[in-house]
Symmetry: C2
Subunit: 206 residues, 2 copies
Amino acid sequence: MVRRSGRRPGNQDTRSSILDAARSAFAEKGYDKASIRAIAAEAGVDPALVHHYFGTKDKLFLASMNAPIDPGTLIPQALRGPREEAGERLVRLVLSVWDSPAGTTALGMFRSALSNEWTARLLREFVITQVLRKAVAELALDPVEAPARAALVATQIAGLMVARYVLKLEPLPSAAPEALVAAIGPNVQRFLTEPLPAKLSAADGG
Amino acid sequence: MVRRSGRRPGNQDTRSSILDAARSAFAEKGYDKASIRAIAAEAGVDPALVHHYFGTKDKLFLASMNAPIDPGTLIPQALRGPREEAGERLVRLVLSVWDSPAGTTALGMFRSALSNEWTARLLREFVITQVLRKAVAELALDPVEAPARAALVATQIAGLMVARYVLKLEPLPSAAPEALVAAIGPNVQRFLTEPLPAKLSAADGG
DNA sequence: GTCTATAACTCGATAGAC
DNA sequence: GTCTATCGAGTTATAGAC
């Protein structure tokens, strides 16, 4: 192991336990209700240290959201394959990500977007740039229809999130992922590939 | 007109303008972020008056949610009729309620449920007692399957709410209601009447 | 019935000692 | 690098004058 000279970086344990605490707090409470004081308490450090490491609460949120999920590769993977099963694969991907430990990050992003303006904007842009464009390319969607299809898919996916993870409407929270894939996948599939009502694919909204 | 003796009741104008302001504030911000001060300011009254009329913030929320919507009659109306079109009628009902002035109330309830534990519970119980049971009766659903069907329908409806009214993901906010009915109705229909994956209708969630 | 004043808390952020 | 102490701005809710 090479001993580097110069100043040692900040204690990595402290920094990463703050990040862990932040992720779970944001996931559980959303951006607004997650307090820096509570995050610091859970991490076992002083609240001032949080500011020392991350500056403002905004930056802490961004830092805690950045690490673990890379939709840039996950989404194309899920969409690749037989066109008729893309819907099921998408639902399966969503559930596997959200049920994994890394899913607390995504849950934090989502919960925050539901109650906070700037995080909502963040999510909107994320959906558009990271998901929509990938889907257009991968599935060769008609560019005129793509936004409407993406938004419709988003209604079903977001609704699944809300009902299963936020409202906890039984039997969704305790259902096996594959059962949900079988139940919901075909609806997503329909939004992806079935013909759309003409009025929806029009550029304007009347 | 009969002149009653004794003390005059509180100024009804003041009371109802507080209620109006509360409804729109709760709809716009959700329970937590809607402040009594802001509600009082919008109603043009003193914050202390809000407490005088309604007691706590909880009670003000309940009072502002109670008046305008009676799902006990709306839901059965929407479900009655040809079974194959129940999904479309349900989506149409939801959109017509939420786009109407009275819809701000429902929007408040919904936004609040997304970020606050006790209002989420309120909504859950509302869905179960006011919507689910009516649907079971009206559509003659198998009681074993009914909770799963209701929850699945809820994913699509809640997702529509979230994407159209909260995240405002274009082109949903500016789309004509009938276009959304045509696009989404069939998916709701599928949840209502198509066969379910066996695992979902089981009582447990193992 | 209405409003002023304030109690009793939360929060994010900062300054400065060590 | 860490912590104490504190500022300033929020919040709900209440007590009491008029």
